[in-house]
Symmetry: C2
Subunit: 503 residues, 2 copies
């Protein structure tokens, strides 16, 4: 895949955090140990014994009635009953809609749910997305990810239908017909949450869609918007840092063209193995900047960390020394970086290699329907690189033997002129964003109606609002979460009033 | 199929009218010449040269990305450009969503569109439903209807996605991005129209759903409701007619049990070939009563015609003579009836046998997702016959090798507690019904919100409002259509206001 197509739409994932692996990458071939994530997010302190695991016998294809469509797979979902007020009181149910990742870390990483469960007396449900974690069709990962014929069932419409089935099943099993459902999701999961409210209003009273870039497909926003934000984040922290990064690309080219240039670069950047070409270095750096911007958590501020490293370099005035100083400030220098031979690239999929699954699954999704256009414009700290749809398509054909349906998302879910349409249709969606998150460039940043609202923070990063609260949270983040809770309370109060009127 | 499962959800179809064949049946094995339809509806006097035919290369499976999902078929749609104000004026587009039938008769049978086209300066579009008419996947009818593997793609969700694609294509081709779309449908097509507004609000500003029994699946309305209305229609016309019909079933049994009973019945009812059992007669009669009730057009009043025949029988007091007199009054006695050996039952599907296609296609649809529950209660003019889901399912397995997903429609589209849900979600749907139409028992008869409204007439029959106006139309029908036009005008005016605000 073209490098900057491979931005993950993921909030934060615990197994990735634990194993200090890569979360946000540009490429299937990005090395393992790019980023230490442990400092990024505070995890909810939930007792694992509070989390019950269930499996639902899910239909393989909801929109077809061929015999093989009736095949089933076990879809995993987790429930935390601890805070629930119970069916007799029609106590609410918060349902987290899983995204392109295993669901087990979600009870800990989506702290917003557990933080607010006692107040709402809410049941907490976390449903795993098909083809991820343990919710694998065709009996095994190997089969499910084998080719386009088995991957064909991995798409958002099928996932939403799965969620509908599981929600109906849970309400029936718990005899909780009158309990209001609020769906919550982040990033791609946030897109799913907002779409679920639009497509299945009979199954949820409202959606909290955190950092959901629902405008990032088709031609709705400019392909350069994402990288513009990354670049802006760095510029806001430091003009000199921005300039150094901007100048570093031609300097990499200059050194590369010297005799033994790649050896010089390999040594300078302490690579794990010698660089084969300068792109390996450039991609690594681009990935790091993008990752830092998307997950620019206020308590760790990776963009500031990198820029401090660059600006305060004690290595002299060499541009590349400054860049390396930025890497060390962010990642540390206790281990080699770049070109790690233990990289997960190209390794076969096994039962334990969940990162590869996430990469492969997401790679398939962005090649089939979620055609996310990302390019680099002329006025950033990166080298310009316009989005090339033809190349994107040909890469997808090569990698997955699939032709992207690049207009399907806006055909099925809409996207153009949303304000005109949704001001008179639908209700009860919160689109939350942090403007430092480059994915906010594809987000909803203005209210679409009285009850389809945008709540954003200028300093927020990706999915920040649905993470656990912390004593060190800035005031603006506390305020954002309070607003969200207030709106959800209003939805639920309105629902109870309607329910009373019915009976 | 169990007899009373096979109620068609169809408005009026010209080829059926022309060939004086059966439109509404209970059974795949119902004889051909049941009803003369020519007296039922006034057709729009449209010049055939005003109707242009187009084909769109349609995707076989919108919700799957397997290689075979990318197969295409030619989907037919018709356009009448005569009245259109043009793209420059953002003049509206009325789109008729085809149902379980070929689309060619629709420009003539759906007169409401052409009657109102000059006032609205509307473009008229008629899109054919997949698997009907000329919109056949897999290259031929024989292949498309071969088995569950090829029929699997015939369902409502795929059909709605087809309509979305065609609408986008038409707007693009005509550079009519700003032209508002109003979708119109009747019966099953009315269900599709309302669902299209709910699922694709970005592609239509509103829907006129005529005689759409969207509550008739799952357990939302009582299975007996349909036949209750049929029975009520006859009772309202004549108590004695109702009583005669009620008494006829046991009389048929009594005569059947006599020596040569079936010969006596065959002679009495002038059957085309000797009856093999009394059910052939009973089913024929049930079909006739149901048909008369569903298509009880005010100008022809078949229920009154039948009852007049029964009540004024000159054959003496024999119950069955009276019933035969009812048949003659309605159908005539110039030809034999019942057990016609030229019946279309059991005939293979050929290119010309469009009725069989409609039966097969609809048979598949009600066996896969549109599980319509119909039974007969204790207090009707029929013999009680409760709905039997198990038998329904086993019949579907036998006939089509498919297991009905009997909850899917309410999972995907909703159906329970619609008022509670749609009073705060969605807008701009007219549900029109006539209460004499037994399918109105599954229709929306109360406003769900300010703009999701029910407009019904006490004396109306199936899809009456979307047929052509006629000088003989009763006042209540004229009023119903005026209300609908007024509401559609309001939608369009509102849309233009929103459009102005946008630019």
């Amino acid at each position: 895949m073209k490098q900057y197509q491979f931005i993950f739409f993921i909030c934060l994932s615990l197994h990735l955090i634990e194993s200090i692996h890569l979360v946000s990458t540009f490429s299937l071939r990005t090395p393992r140990k790019l980023i230490k994530l442990h400092s990024f997010a505070r995890l909810a302190s939930t007792d694992t014994k509070d989390i019950d695991t269930f499996f639902y016998k899910q239909t393989l294809d909801h929109f077809n009635y061929k015999p093989e469509s009736y095949n089933t797979f076990d879809q995993r979902y987790l429930i935390n009953f601890k805070y629930w007020g119970g069916a007799n009181y029609s106590a609410p149910i918060f349902v987290y809609l899983g995204a392109e990742d295993a669901i087990d870390p979600s009870p800990y990483s989506v702290g917003f749910m557990i933080d607010n469960a006692p107040t709402f007396k809410a049941l907490l449900v976390y449903i795993e997305h098909r083809y991820y974690g343990k919710s694998i069709p065709f009996g095994s990962r190997e089969e499910a990810y084998k080719n386009a014929s088995t991957l064909g069932y991995l798409n958002s419409a099928q996932a939403l239908a799965d969620y509908a089935d599981v929600i109906i099943h849970i309400k029936k099993t718990l005899q909780a017909q009158n309990s209001p459902i609020v769906v919550i999701g982040g990033s791609y999961g946030g897109m799913l949450a907002s779409w679920f409210r639009l497509k299945y209003p009979h199954l949820t009273i409202g959606a909290l869609a955190s950092s959901a870039p629902i405008l990032s497909t088709d031609d709705i926003v400019h392909p350069n918007a994402y990288m513009d934000v990354v670049s802006r984040d760095f510029k806001e922290v430091s003009d000199t840092c921005y300039e150094t990064i901007l100048n570093s690309w031609s300097e990499i080219d200059r050194v590369t063209s010297e005799t033994n240039g790649l050896s010089i670069l390999s040594k300078k950047f302490n690579t794990c193995s010698p660089l084969n070409n300068s792109s390996e270095l450039s991609h690594y750096l681009e990935n790091m900047y993008v990752f830092a911007a998307q997950y620019n958590h206020p308590s760790s501020s990776p963009v500031t960390t990198i820029c401090n490293g660059i600006d305060k370099a004690s290595f002299g005035n060499d541009v590349l020394d400054k860049i390396y100083s930025g890497i060390v400030a962010f990642i540390g220098n206790d281990t080699c970086q770049i070109n790690d031979p233990t990289s997960i690239s190209e390794t076969p999929i096994s039962e334990t290699d969940i990162e590869t699954e996430t990469r492969m699954g997401w790679g398939w999704q962005i090649c089939s329907e979620l055609v996310v256009r990302h390019g680099i414009g002329n006025d950033t700290m990166f080298r310009p690189s316009p989005f090339d749809l033809e190349k994107y398509i040909s890469n997808c054909k090569e990698e997955y033997d699939v032709s992207p349906r690049s207009h399907w998302i806006s055909t099925y879910y809409g996207g153009h002129n949303l304000k005109t349409i949704l001001q008179r249709f639908g209700s009860n969606i919160i689109f939350s964003n942090g403007l430092q998150d480059p994915l906010s460039s594809g987000g909803i940043l203005h209210d679409l109606s009285k009850s389809i609202v945008a709540i954003y923070t200028k300093k927020g990063s990706h999915c920040l609002d649905i993470q656990s609260s912390s004593p060190s949270d800035p005031v603006w983040l506390i305020k954002q979460r309070k607003q969200e809770v207030k709106i959800i309370k209003r939805w639920i109060a309105q629902y109870y009033t309607d329910l009373d009127a019915l009976h």
